[in-house]
Amino acid sequence: MLNIGSFPTRVCQGINRRTFLQAGLTAPFALGLPACNVAAEAAKAKSVLLVWLWGAPSHLDTFDPKPNAPAEFRGPFSTIATRTPGVRVTEVLPKLAARSHKYTLIRSHKNFHIDHLKAGTIALTGADEAGEGLAPNFGSVLARHRGPRQLPPFISIGRGNPRDVVGPMKGYGGGNWGKVYDPFLVNCSEQGEVDIPSLQLLDGLTPQHLEDRRQLLAELDGLRQRLDGAELDKWDATRRRAYQLLTSPDARKALDVSRESQQARDAYGQTSFGQSCLLARRLIEAQVPYVQVNWSQYVEAMTPNCDFGWDTHIYNFEMLADRHCPIFDRVVAALLDDLDQRGLLQTTLVIAMGEFGRTPKINGTASRDHWPNCYFSLWAGAGLQPGKVIGESDRTGSEPITEPITPAMIGTTMLELSGVTSQQRAEFRVLPSGRVIDELI
């Protein structure tokens, strides 16, 4: 099901392309992107799928447990063996423990800010906002590198871009390259219903309108007159992008999760995060270069409007055991299995990470706060050797005792695997200080 404007419809059955706005829409998904046009074929990663664990999951209570640390650090979770000899994770991740041969775990990440918004920007761009302004998101860099195509080259799935009560996280998109490199946003419900926020501007849009071009054009003209110039510019761009999706049968097909078998949909589970990851797999299959699934502030929220994903300042252990980890465990396990069975894992780089970790010492409310000095990530696919652990943290999970792996190194490795060479990164003026995580490759 794909929602257009404020109504749901099965677009694969209900929209006649000839009756829709067509001017300029049958071209590939240009977006005004300068066409670098370097083919992805040479890259190990034809696509990148980033599972963005916004809010910052606790590393000690998931993938870097410290069962021998003092009680004030280790928490109440037991550890379980993984399929990788000698590697243990906590008991709330049984499915991913059984699939440790499909991914590599990094336990020695370090970020450079304790604030979500700033750390998130660093995590997704490799840099703080400084002299040259806001660096582009890794997805924006890859989108620019790959150039125009039928589907948007950088798609973000979730209820909007990551934010907290203070405001949005700046590093979500194009940064100083401009909004044209922002991700194209889609939302996916727990039922697998996909909607495109940029079309929500047209509140009155109905299937009948779509089939009546004259009426639609009249409404669009009316809307034009009501918008000022800046809004219109933005609206035109987003409308163009959204309508291109609707007029492309392949794009519509990629966005239609209901085409999946019931078995596949069940495997991911009836949660918005689960169906979002299934949608991400469909987009990868449709050769979208960069897909980011946001475990956003509104995914399975306990306190609506203010649930910051994995930001578990209170009830850390209960939320992880009851909600977050069961959902994450099921969905990411299903995602890895699905990509593997379809032969997509070899050409898709899957990364799951947040912006930082959480305080090794349990706080005064039996939970954990922000901790940028040490955190984890999972890497799978794209020819990486799985079943490894890279990096090590100290006995309390407070600091890496091996070389810290920074966001710039994450971005550099991600782009290198995707075919964005050091020369091209230099031309783009991104990630000047990053180096590839050699142990991964």
Binding site: E190, A301, A366
Partner: protein, 265 residues
């Protein structure tokens, strides 16, 4: 037998009206958790509080149904306890304040004298109580993480989970917090004890065999047995007043629904 079929995330079912209805928490939308009331006679369900604008969850009732305690979200990871007198149509509130504060899992004494809940305090997560007016806050535990309190049917004891011995185990204590006794001893998580109506048995949830499943034991911790074998999650058991059946939240094919489970007498 399956009681619901929408597949939405569900939690904390509890019987009311002598077993004729169930109240449970459902993730109604990505931004709203709601209390639902399910009538067993016709399978119809509706919101317990149709006008609720914010998330409400984890309802508990007195046996006569007069008082209902539940958790209400204030936003920004802050929660308050609402105690509703359904006869007088009045509400009492216990609000611990803003800034990452809040309680979970209330349970009401059968005589409505106290409401016990779990709340971050004293460097851990403690069981505390207030009176039915939401006042006179008293501590029951003082260390580690303590959770899932539930009054025995006679109101004399509380079963609960605690990390005091390392991982989560189930304990029982007198209603005043004294005389704590450990009931389970196994690796992994043992949680969410639920008293049988006669007070002789406890259903609970454990992942000791690899995933969350429903178990049962005598009230002294003996005769532990697993009630369900399923590759997916089974959680949140609650007893029907007849003492012969449980309702639990079972995940089946990725969908979360309420199911019956016969347990015998």
């Amino acid at each position: 037998m399956q009681l619901t079929r929408d597949g939405k995330l569900k939690m904390d079912p509890v019987f009311i009206k002598n077993g004729e209805e169930l109240v449970y928490t459902v993730q109604e939308s990505p931004t709203q958790m709601s209390l639902m009331r399910l009538k067993l006679a016709d399978g119809s369900s509706e919101r317990l509080h149709p006008q609720a604008l914010t998330s409400e969850f984890e309802a508990a009732f007195t046996p006569d149904g007069r008082y209902c305690a539940f958790v209400q979200s204030k936003g920004n990871l802050s929660l308050k306890l609402v105690i509703r007198d359904t006869q007088q149509n009045k509400e009492a509130v216990f609000d611990p304040g803003g800034g990452f504060q809040g309680m979970r899992r209330p349970t009401i004494a059968p005589d409505a004298s106290r409401v016990v809940f779990s709340i971050p305090a004293d460097g851990g997560q403690q069981l505390q109580s207030v009176n039915i007016a939401g006042q006179d806050r008293k501590p029951l535990t003082t260390s580690s993480i303590n959770h899932w309190p539930t009054f025995s049917p006679d109101g004399q004891r509380l079963a609960f989970g605690s990390s005091r011995d390392g991982d989560y185990e189930i304990y029982v204590m007198d209603a005043d917090g004294n005389n704590v006794r450990r009931l389970t001893k196994s690796p992994g998580i043992d949680q969410r004890p639920a008293w049988s109506p006669d007070g002789q048995r406890l259903a609970f949830v454990s992942n000791r065999d690899g995933n969350y499943e429903i178990y049962m034991m005598q009230a002294d911790g003996s005769n532990v047995r697993r009630l369900i074998r399923n590759e997916e999650r089974d959680d949140y058991p609650t007893w029907h007043p007849d003492g012969k059946r449980l309702v639990f939240v079972g995940e089946r094919a990725g969908k979360s629904d309420l199911h019956w489970l016969d347990v015998g007498s």
